[in-house]
Amino acid sequence: MTHLIEMSGICKAFAGVIALQDASLHVQPGEVHAIIGQNGAGKSTLIKILTGVYRKDGGRVMIGGQQTKISTPREAQDAGIATIYQELSLVPLRSVTENVMMGYEPRTRFGMIDWSAAHLKTQEILLRFGVDIDVRAQLGTYSTAIQQLVAIARAVSMKAQLVIMDEATSSLDDQEIDILFGVVRELKKEGVAVLYISHFLDELYQICDRVTIMRDGQTVGQHVIAETTKLGLISEMLGRDPEEIEAAGMTALGGQKAQPGEVLLEAEGIATKHGLKNVSMSVRKGEIVGLGGLLGSGRTEAARVLFGLDDLTNGKISYKTGPDRLNTPAQAIEAGVGFLTEDRKREGIIPHMSVRENMTLALLPRLKKMGRVDRKRETELVERFITSLGIKTAGMEQPIRELSGGNQQKVLLARWLALDPKILILDEPTRGVDVGAKFEIQSIIRDYVEKGLGVLLISSEFEELVEGADRIVVLQDGYSVTELQNPGVTEESLIAAIAHHHEKGAS
């Protein structure tokens, strides 16, 4: 039969970095098709090529059996492809009707927008989804779930043949997800295909027909979902042997306990407005506590709240070295807590500044001497860290933006280590750095932990967690569900813990 969408041999590179290599995707009319893969597997890039946001370097895209050259979002829309992006691509300040009809408004005889007709039509589409809201109100006044549904309504109003949902459920609660799924089934009934991208495997079994698995920019599998197991999907996503995972899952318990130092930080039943529902954990002196879980499980959210960036709605955090309530990063730093953020570019480096200036940014209050920066101490310190962390730079005055990712990360790590912190929160410390630098960063962290630093390590790489962490707290959907003790944890047993809890959650 003809595929609705047929992408094959798709290649794409960003400034020499390969994002997609011979990736493919086949979607049939009227099916719900999932794409899964880890971060950086190339899911979003593939979608953005399909929707005309990016241009492909090579390969073929066919829609309804016809080769197409979509190069703008508008052309994709006109070809019947509607996309609901992870970061909502709607305008919250404008009304619901406008967001649904924008660019395709019904007209009166005089060529003016016929608002009554537009409101009616919008109302009608939303009612079909069981959503009865005032369509004239600003979109931003409604919940994220409604906004998602409005985005879908837009797709429907444009008579889309394919609706792409990128992480559509990541910010919805259970009831809202049910409504959304109802809508997806409704769409399917009407013969609209849905391309569904999600990190939540349980969801796939609820609504998807087939699944495409991506890894490292390639398509590594395509299955009818009823013929797969979660374990099988996860192992394919990670490129591991499912039997190993299964076997390890059976023997995951036991092992020695790490030597307990004094407790530096303890979180009990913490919850926040976004992401965290009930998380408990502690970090002790001289240990690395890993936070495991799939994307969206609340790992970064936990880090933010521990650093005083978000407010608690429930629960309690106590710090050994500071007040129990941290309201600003400055206070957290004062209390001996450091936070190496996930997004190096947006939240880490100051691109114009030199290695030296970037490294000592958090330390400035302590380098202060009569209002001026104590340059002598600064230089000594920076020199010491450049040597001890093996930072490859032309000199401490080189702008940080000219360094490689791994060396930038080392500078940022030094920014925190220079503070001599008691607790260091590391969010994906080795993402986007090459293998050599990765190993170095890991061993630096280990060295400091042996000297008494308490580390909370967030990583999407199970290997890193398993090899690095003394204990691993497993998070799922904002809850801390279990804790694994090293030694004894294997990658497979960690994956099994995450997967098994997923099974349990589904039942």
Binding site: F14, A15, G16, V17, A19, E87, F307, L309, T328, P329, A330, A332, I333, E334, F339, T341, K345, R346, E347, G348, I349, I350, P351, H352, M353, E357, T360, L361, A362, L364, P365, L367, K368, G371, R372, V373, R375, R401, E402, L403, S404, G405, R415
Partner: protein
């Protein structure tokens, strides 16, 4: 959105890097080059350009632009802008004569003179606190926040003086604008002193480092514990204070204070000088001496055109061209 897909400079080919390096060098030294060209042109064409008098005239005229441009550079370095500089100049400039011509000051000349300098600058600082507060605590865009004083600051000055031109003879005060040290205008020295102090502040103080960090990446600065709000307020306060001083100088030069005219369009000159001097509009850079250079270029362009019989108004168009060129070069370098 596509930020993570931007090329890292480390992955660029050698040829590309060298090319961008050269381009950078040209645009980096563009200001100095432009200055040399203007100087050469003037020496060849403009009559009496090398006469000392020319130098003095230019120094005394460039001083106020330069002082305000230094302050503006700090504000722009945080990613902001200050439109109120001209109005703050007018306010300070209107206050000073009111104070030293008051009966109290007549009775106590020294104290009166001191107050006439200190009080206007303090008032200017208060304006800066207001601007900074609006920007950092109320999250108002800098253009709008400073628009308030742009409008009402001059209004207050006009109300205070009832719109009258205040003329005076006060040698002590006039020294600010007409005094000479070793033959050079006093305000020339003042510019140099201010520039050195602010340069030191930017390059050697904790405040300066934090200022550049805020402008370079506000999120990262905040996560590193930098007191972003206080730093921003600091920049606006310094800018307003320097504007106040510039206002006093203008009044001193003229021996008269006209609240409607002091500092008119100064915000434009100051922004232009800062941008020509290499200040990035997105923030993160504060080339203080660059701003001075920018002010000198703008002053010289104006002078060159005037001295060669080109009308004042054409100078405005030239200034517009300079601004567009400078920003375009900045943008092109970024992309």
């Amino acid at each position: 959105m596509s930020a993570e897909n931007k090329p890292m400079s480390s992955t660029q080919g050698d040829g590309l890097r060298r090319l961008s390096f050269d381009w950078k060098r040209i645009s980096k030294n563009g200001g100095a080059l432009a200055l040399l060209v203007i100087l050469a042109f003037n020496i060849l064409v403009t009559p009496n350009f090398l006469h000392p008098q020319t130098l003095f005239v230019n120094i005394s005229q460039v001083a106020t632009i330069a002082i305000v441009a230094v302050g503006m550079t700090l504000v722009i370095a945080t990613g902001g802008i200050d439109l109120s500089v001209g109005a703050v100049m007018a306010l300070a400039g209107a206050l000073a004569p009111l104070i030293f011509t008051s009966p109290f000051a007549q009775a106590n000349p020294e104290l009166g003179l001191a107050l006439a300098i200190v009080v206007p600058v303090l008032v200017a600082l208060v304006c800066g606190v207001f601007n900074g507060f609006m920007v950092s605590y109320l999250n108002v865009q800098p253009i709008v926040a400073t628009l308030i004083f742009f409008i009402s600051g001059r209004g207050i000055a006009l109300v205070l003086t009832n719109g009258n031109l205040q003329t005076f003879t006060h040698p002590g005060f006039s020294y600010l604008g007409t005094g000479k040290v070793l033959g050079f205008p006093f305000q020339g020295y003042l510019v140099v002193v201010i520039a050195i102090i602010v340069w030191w502040l930017v390059n050697h103080s904790v405040f300066g480092r934090q200022l550049l960090a805020v402008g370079g990446n506000e999120k990262a600065a905040k996560l590193s514990g930098v007191p972003v709000k206080r730093v921003k307020i600091g920049a606006y306060v310094i800018c307003a204070g320097l504007s106040g001083i510039a206002g006093l100088i203008v009044v001193a030069i003229n021996s008269a204070s006209d609240a409607a005219r002091i500092g008119n369009l100064m915000e434009l000159d100051a922004i232009a000088a800062a941008v020509v001097g290499g200040t990035l509009l997105q923030g993160g850079k504060a080339p203080i001496f660059g701003a001075i250079l920018g002010a000198v270029i703008i002053q010289l362009v104006k002078y060159t055109l005037l001295a060669n019989g080109v009308a004042d108004e054409v100078a405005l168009i030239a200034k517009a061209g300079i601004i567009i060129m400078a920003v375009y070069v900045q943008q092109a370098r970024k992309e």
